[in-house]
């Protein structure tokens, strides 16, 4: 069967990459409508849950640019989430001063500041990381993430050290949960559209080529290191934007936002939803957030739970939820087309 032609490194069916749009567009369209209606249909508690899902979903989707599309795993992606959060929080603190009040212009300047700061951070860190692939890439991103964590953790004068920065109260009209939710909704939707465009561009297909076989991609005359760096910066920038939204949402930032546990959240969400699909991380964010809320309701052993879930996914369903849906869809389509072919030729099924 032509469909089972496998790329040499990933072992995934070659047709897999085209399944992205077929599944991601309907899923994201449904989610768009659902998220649009959340504040109208549900109460404030669920609006806050949905805000969290959107922000962390954007963070996870930016991580998937590196993991799902480029085929490298970063254990330090939260460094950029945290950089963005701190850039916003520090400007916020300076603007609001002693009164604790911040104007609308200053608020949006603080949020926007996260973008260049995270991009610059990703450029510097990425410059070193993209020289490596595989486990070396994973180790170096982890090392840089922890390094930034320690810098933020111990630089009391500037970052507030382990106390973090509190009292990040948005301007009056954005203080209500629903107002802030719709602000996040607009920003996340725009960011996701931009990211979708990037993954569907020739640039996005070069990323996939590098994932499947970096050496062959290089032989095509593509400067793989430069493409990896550009993608690393793009992913870091979107993570920073997600981080910027996080501070005013929780009214505080803490060094933990840069740590490996926070990086782990992006990894887990992506894996739960399915790294092979653009919509995967956002779906994963929904699953993760609900699972977390449900499990922590009756036990404090959340790491044990998520660890077991990850173990089960890696062992039995490495494609995540969307991967499983896609396999089911494919199996059904395969059965149908085989049936159609049999009827057309009138031949007997010859078996696998």
């Amino acid at each position: 069967m032509a469909m089972t032609t496998e790329s040499s490194r990933t072992g995934k069916p070659a047709a897999w990459r085209f399944a992205d749009a077929v599944l991601s567009i309907p899923v994201l369209a449904v989610l768009f409508v659902a998220f649009l209606l959340v504040p109208i249909v549900l109460g404030q508690f669920w609006v806050e849950v949905a805000t969290e899902i959107l922000i962390l979903g954007l963070f996870a989707a930016s991580f998937n640019l590196i993991y799902g599309y480029m085929g490298q795993i970063s254990f330090g992606h939260a460094a950029f989430f945290g950089l963005g959060a701190y850039a916003t929080a520090i400007l916020f603190r300076e603007f609001s001063g002693a009164t604790g009040e911040i104007g609308y212009l200053e608020f949006f300047v603080s949020v926007a500041a996260s973008v260049p700061v995270a991009a610059l951070g990703a450029l510097v860190i990425g410059f070193f990381c993209v020289r490596l692939t595989g486990i070396y890439f994973a180790i170096l991103t982890l090392a840089f993430g922890e390094l930034l964590f320690f810098v933020v953790f111990s630089w009391y004068g500037f970052t507030g050290g382990d106390d973090g920065i509190q009292r990040l109260l948005p301007p009056p009209l954005l203080r209500h949960a629903t107002a802030y939710y719709y602000l996040c909704f607009v920003i996340v939707v725009l960011a996701m559209l931009l990211m979708w465009r990037i993954t569907q561009s020739p640039f996005g297909y070069i990323l996939r080529a590098m994932r499947d076989n970096q050496e062959r991609t290089r032989f095509l005359g593509i400067n793989t290191r430069a493409y990896m760096l550009i993608n690393f910066v793009i992913a870091g920038t979107f993570a920073g934007l997600a981080g910027a939204l996080w501070g005013p949402f929780t009214r505080s930032v803490a060094p933990g936002l840069l740590g490996w546990q926070e990086s782990g959240i992006a990894v887990f969400m992506t894996l739960l939803g399915g790294s092979g699909f653009f919509a995967g991380p956002m779906v994963g964010s929904i699953i993760y957030t609900f699972l977390h809320a449900w499990v922590t309701g009756f036990t404090q052993y959340w790491p044990l739970t998520i660890g077991t879930v990850i173990l089960a996914i890696v062992l039995f369903s490495p494609g995540g939820l969307l991967g499983a849906v896609d396999a089911w869809r494919r199996a059904r389509a395969g059965k149908k087309s085989r049936l159609a072919a049999d009827m057309a030729t009138g031949e007997e099924e010859t078996g696998a």
Binding site: F128, I135, L140, L315
Partner: protein, 294 residues
């Protein structure tokens, strides 16, 4: 803070003994990676589990005297070797044909699971063993003689491991498996057994290290992450698969860490990471690794 001679001596001893635990962990990590191509994120977490098990065995036997500690260490090491065998047989073995990120995620999941299991069984308090040892007077300060025990033990394990890999039949099989597992398999050697053995050996060495360090270094939740990051630093600096490189890099990282804690407490890890970054750019295969294996 004055940098007099005795202070330097103490920091040097602390650095070298820290280097020993790094070496014992990193050599297992490097061996497992060299033979099976699996990077075990959970290696330091298994070290931690070994430490807690040894602690409990020691307490159960009365909790006094160096001799009982030796018995407890042997017990803890054996238990962890068994856990290592089971982990390879039922989890790691399923991952050999998988993509690298999935392999990493599996061992990363083990970090979370084992960490919480430790929390369930032993709670959140630190666990340490107290041995009544007379401190040694050196100049104006006192030195814990246990440092010398640790350095001696670490050096012996390093020598033993080197001897095992270079001189024994099984060591040669393991080294051959690093270079060409198909050929080893074709010679009639059962590769799955070799893999299981190597994984268990690595975990056992880690558990042994935890036990030996119990009187000096309390077992606490979360230290496994600090340690695994430093072990990664060691294997990157020394080069994967090189015992000598791992040994030298452990000394470098351990001693630099000990001295930077003295001069710039918050920057100790930063200094280590700067070296890692430098090495990765200059010689990504490490000081003693070969370009081929990188």
């Amino acid at each position: 803070m004055s940098l007099d001679l005795s202070l330097i001596l103490i920091q040097l001893l602390a650095g070298i003994s820290r280097a020993m635990v790094l070496f014992l962990l990193a050599s297992g990590l490097s061996l497992i990676f060299g033979v099976m191509n699996i990077l075990n994120f959970a290696h330091a977490t298994m070290w931690l589990l070994g430490g807690y098990i040894t602690f409990s065995l020691f307490e159960m036997m009365g909790g006094e005297g160096p001799l009982l500690l030796v018995v407890a260490i042997i017990g803890g090491t054996t238990v962890m070797a068994g856990i290592g065998l089971l982990t390879e047989r039922f989890l790691i073995r399923r991952m050999y044909d998988r993509e690298l990120p999935e392999q990493l995620l599996l061992t990363f999941a083990l970090v979370l699971i084992i960490g919480d299991v430790i929390k369930i069984i032993w709670g959140v308090e630190d666990r340490a063993v107290y041995l009544n040892i007379e401190p040694l007077a050196v100049g104006e300060t006192y030195i814990n003689p246990y440092y010398f025990v640790i350095i001696a033990v670490g050096a012996s394990v390093a020598a033993g491991l080197w001897w095992f890999l270079q001189k024994t039949r099984y060591g040669k099989i393991v080294r051959a498996a690093v270079y060409n597992r198909d050929m080893v398999s074709a010679l009639g050697i059962r590769i799955p057994f070799i893999y299981m053995g190597v994984f268990a050996l690595g975990v056992a060495i880690a558990a042994f290290a935890a036990g030996v360090f119990l009187p000096l270094m309390p077992m606490a939740l979360g230290v496994d992450i600090d340690l695994i990051v430093q072990c990664f630093a060691v294997v990157v600096i020394g080069g994967f698969g090189s015992i000598l490189g791992t040994f030298v890099a452990s000394l470098v990282v351990g001693i630099i860490y000990a001295f930077s804690i003295l001069l710039w407490p918050d920057g100790a890890l930063a200094v280590v990471f700067l070296i890692v970054v430098g090495i990765l750019i200059w010689r990504p295969w490490g000081l003693f690794g070969t370009e081929l294996r990188y």
